[in-house]
Symmetry: C2
Amino acid sequence: MGYRVDMTPATTSARPPGRPRSGVNDVVFAATLSTVHELGYARATVDRIAAAAGVAKTTIYRRWPSKGALIVDCLLDAFGPVPLQGTSRSELMSSAIHWIAAKIGEPGVGDAFAGVFSDAISDPALREVLSARLQDPYRLALQDALGEPENRVLFFIDVVVGTLLHRLGMTGVPMVDSDVAELVQMVLPHFGGDADLT
Amino acid sequence: MGYRVDMTPATTSARPPGRPRSGVNDVVFAATLSTVHELGYARATVDRIAAAAGVAKTTIYRRWPSKGALIVDCLLDAFGPVPLQGTSRSELMSSAIHWIAAKIGEPGVGDAFAGVFSDAISDPALREVLSARLQDPYRLALQDALGEPENRVLFFIDVVVGTLLHRLGMTGVPMVDSDVAELVQMVLPHFGGDADLT
DNA sequence: TAATTTCGCTACCTCAAGTATCGATACCTA
DNA sequence: TAGGTATCGATACTTGAGGTAGCGAAATTA
């Protein structure tokens, strides 16, 4: 039960023979988010996602080896790169927190994030994919931008993402702006504030 | 699909006729935690829990209407009352954080907590039970002890529990003591520290 | 035209939550 | 001691979701 997410055929320089894949990945991603948004993570079955995308279920399983892998790719697509804006450490951290809070607030994104995260609890293979493909890139970007060691950035991510997801999971509603602002106010002093600029 | 957790027959002053229930609730709780600890939340099926407890599956469904309800009751039993120790606000908050961190570190407890929490994301009825039976008592106790309004205590819980569960879910290992200590160091100043004693 | 690959479609397998039923058992009351 | 009642274990079942197998049709290259 491998979690190799990228099932794109090995890209050789020459175009391989046979029928090329139709470019419906984006349609599937959109259908995934909208289905998760409307029905919740557990009721957003692969059958329903396929139907919403106007695609056969088998087509989805040809491209992603599992529902979890599909969600991870969908989230990667939804998140995009971290916009690390600002010159001071405070501005960088603050922008990162507001960015992830906004993403989690987008329809379907927060539910999909929390859902795949919860599946990973009892699925070490999925946890590996989640960590390597979704968390590590952002963690490395933060390490680089902030000049903090790995364990401190991991702690930062645990606090920010954990808090946002716990609120969403417990209430069903994403954190409001004032609470996100309070989160920023709590986190920044602990991580050095404006002491040193980049 | 009701989530009425307490399926104990309505207690009248007179003892009802018929065969009384065998006192195996504690055995079922212990079997639940050990099974979740060994297999993870998703693979800890009700069949397996029943087998581990030496009880028929139907007996479990006579006492709890769903797996989620069983887990909630199991966690209530495992957590017990919050030991709010100390006289200063800092001591109270610090003891509460260390207490929940230790509970989440107990074998099976953290996995069961994270598991039922994640099920609740796409199950509003279970979320209601989780909030009312598991979170509200502790939230009220904290409000009373700290003299903080509801929204601030909710934020406190989101930060502490969210952070601990995110670490557990992402790594499969509970937070180590040094990280819990750092969490305390980060949270306490934001919530007023030692400013006013109780 | 032939080879190759993806497409949609249908049927299927496995597993887990939850339900139904039944004879056996334990308790109370008369 | 006999009868009523509710729980017990055991078995079988239903429902739904993840995931697979195999088919003929369609799209591309050589």
